[in-house]
């Protein structure tokens, strides 16, 4: 209890401390807000179109250097995903489903350990003017697989109905192998006036998707918002869309390639994961650095040390020096690969009071990039009392 406050004050503090949970729908809506807003600003769309046109030009003429920092945005802003798609790691969807005059097809999709992305082609009847559509939401979308695993669901009622119907004992508040924790973002990629249809892209991400052989997408409501300045839903289309996808073998038989440490400039670094996937390279390591405070320090000293550390950290970050920065990978041919930042599963760094330091990062190196039998990772660790340049040489286990 804080000694400067009375009992009621402390009850207030306690009340707010006990009510910290933020529903997942809020996190999801924050994640998608700016993707949807891209359609609002004509200039952004224009720039995107120019980039797409430029890419097409380069592909047709050939003989030109492809700028490595142009991201094609097949699904999201991940260069790793784009590389996979360019190399055939994408599959067409299944049959279309028509309900309430709305014809929906999964145009294409992709699934690996970390990503499940798909494009929905939605053909509306003439009563819907697609040019006026600002935002489309599928409020009760649910994705399951043949093992009755719930891959994605943000509507609790839909979740409970599914569990009841299938005699499943899953908990809405608990995530595990049967009820996956999936983040998502979605946006309107294109509008096709000839067919009065819209392409809606969904990107789901998780730390480990299962090797499903069939995916079932179900939803019964499409919410359309026309006016960006008015939050109310312009149209709600009710229906019943059950889209079944047969997952190809290249997706469910996917395997990662393990790398082992050949050389490391710092013997205290323990690499716990170095694996190459279809859409990325994932690295995780831990090490021990100086503890932030000692266990027998008083609360006041602990707080002081934490405060000092926080202030130091903020100053460093203003200079673009995060706890781990300047990280990249170089392959056999000198090609560079950089960290991915397309979702919250791409990166994690934590520095615990007892001195444990853990870092995980995915990079845009993929199985489709050749010349990666031996790769070298460079990064800088930036902590108080500990600044070091780290070099780790990794070798493919199957080479």
């Amino acid at each position: 209890m804080n000694n400067n406050y009375d009992e009621i004050d402390n009850l207030f503090f306690q009340y707010f401390e006990n009510n910290q949970e933020v529903p997942r729908i809020i996190t999801n809506c924050i994640e998608t807000a700016m993707y949807k807003s891209k359609n609002k600003y004509g200039i952004t769309i224009l720039i995107k179109k120019i980039i797409i046109t430029l890419i097409s030009f380069i592909t047709v003429t050939g003989g030109m250097v492809f700028a490595s920092n142009i991201i094609k945005n097949f699904f999201n802003n991940s260069k790793g995903l784009d590389t996979a798609v360019e190399n055939g790691y994408i599959e067409q969807g299944g049959e279309n489903v028509v309900s309430n005059n709305t014809d929906i097809t999964v145009k294409n999709f992709l699934m690996d350990d970390f990503n499940l992305s798909f494009t929905l082609e939605m053909k509306f009847d003439e009563s819907i003017d697609i040019n006026s559509i600002y935002r489309i939401t599928l409020p009760n979308l649910m994705i399951t697989d043949e093992q009755k695993r719930i891959i994605y669901c943000i509507d609790e009622t839909t979740f409970k109905e599914y569990c009841q119907k299938n005699n499943l004992n899953y908990s809405w508040n608990e995530f595990n192998d049967n009820h996956l924790r999936s983040g998502a973002n979605w946006y309107i990629k294109d509008k096709l006036t000839d067919s009065n249809s819209v392409e809606l892209v969904y990107n789901l991400y998780s730390d480990k998707y299962p090797k499903s052989k069939y995916l079932y997408l179900n939803f019964s409501e499409i919410s359309i918002q026309n006016n960006p300045n008015d939050n109310s839903i312009t149209h709600t289309i009710d229906g019943n869309w059950n889209l079944d996808l047969e997952v190809p073998e290249k997706f469910y038989n996917r395997e990662s390639i393990i790398y082992t440490v050949k050389e490391c400039s710092d013997s205290t670094i323990n690499v716990t994961d170095a694996s190459l996937y279809d859409t990325c390279f994932k690295l995780e390591f831990n090490t021990k650095v100086k503890p932030i405070y000692q266990e027998n320090d008083s609360e006041e000293v602990k707080n002081e040390k934490m405060q000092a550390l926080t202030e130091w950290n903020m100053k460093e970050k203003a200079e673009w020096r995060t706890m781990v920065y300047d990280e990249y990978i170089i392959d056999n041919s000198g090609n560079k690969f950089y960290p991915l930042r397309s979702s919250s599963e791409d990166s994690m760094t934590s520095y615990l009071p007892d001195g444990q330091f853990i870092h995980m990062q995915t990079f845009d190196l993929t199985k489709y990039n050749k010349n990666a039998n031996t790769i070298t990772l460079y990064l800088k660790i930036n902590l108080p009392y500990t600044q070091k340049d780290v070099k780790i040489v990794l070798e493919r286990q199957d080479s």
């Binding site: 995060t322 760094t349 520095y351 615990l352």
Partner: protein
């Protein structure tokens, strides 16, 4: 300790200052991460005005769009959080007012200050008074001030700047909320005995 670990628990979550710099230079991802880093605060504040999570989503999304659009006008980056909270409060009020206007067309409603106030909704005859219930039943303005003070831990000066209220009014409303809650909370305990 928890706050500290959250601050140094990076990933996509860089410190606020760096994210603001990146967001101002046009990095949408940085701006989204910035908002994620304060999503608890935004949610709690929106919840003082809106009950429905869908409405809260809409308010937060509109806030993000407006904030991103005007981000370059923010001169002092250290005021980002209070600045975006101001925008959020306005967006929540817009949605609230729109909903209320629509409801008025459909049915008769009571005056805002009488909607579930402590005096009517707390049943002193029943057993123990729940502190949570008392807080949740506070009228909107008091609930907002209490959230900004106890949850976001802003000073009265900062709160007066965020909500556009005279500082003495902020102090007296906070004091009144506390007295109100104390009266019913202690009154309930006495009754239980």
């Amino acid at each position: 300790m928890i706050d500290f670990i959250n601050l140094l628990y990076e990933g996509e979550f860089y410190v606020e200052e760096e994210l603001i710099i990146k967001a101002k230079s046009g990095e949408v991802r940085a701006f989204t991460d910035l908002v994620h880093s304060i999503e608890n605060d935004l949610y709690r504040i929106a919840k003082t005005r809106l009950d429905n999570d869908d409405d809260i989503c809409d308010a937060i999304q509109e806030t993000m769009i407006n904030a991103y659009k005007h981000l370059k006008k923010l001169k002092d980056n250290s005021h980002f959080k209070s600045w975006i909270i101001k925008i959020l409060i306005n967006e929540c009020n817009k949605i609230y007012k729109t909903k209320k206007r629509k409801e008025k067309l459909l049915k008769k409603i009571t005056k805002e200050e009488n909607i579930q106030p402590i005096d009517e909704s707390v049943n002193l005859v029943d057993s123990k008074i729940n502190f949570e219930l008392l807080v949740e039943k506070l009228p909107y303005e008091e609930k907002l001030l209490v959230t900004l003070f106890y949850y976001n831990q802003y000073s009265c000066t900062e709160i007066s700047e965020i909500v556009g209220m005279n500082i003495n009014t902020v102090k007296s409303k906070l004091k009144r909320s506390k007295e109100k809650v104390k009266k019913y909370y202690e009154g309930g305990l006495l009754h239980e005995q």
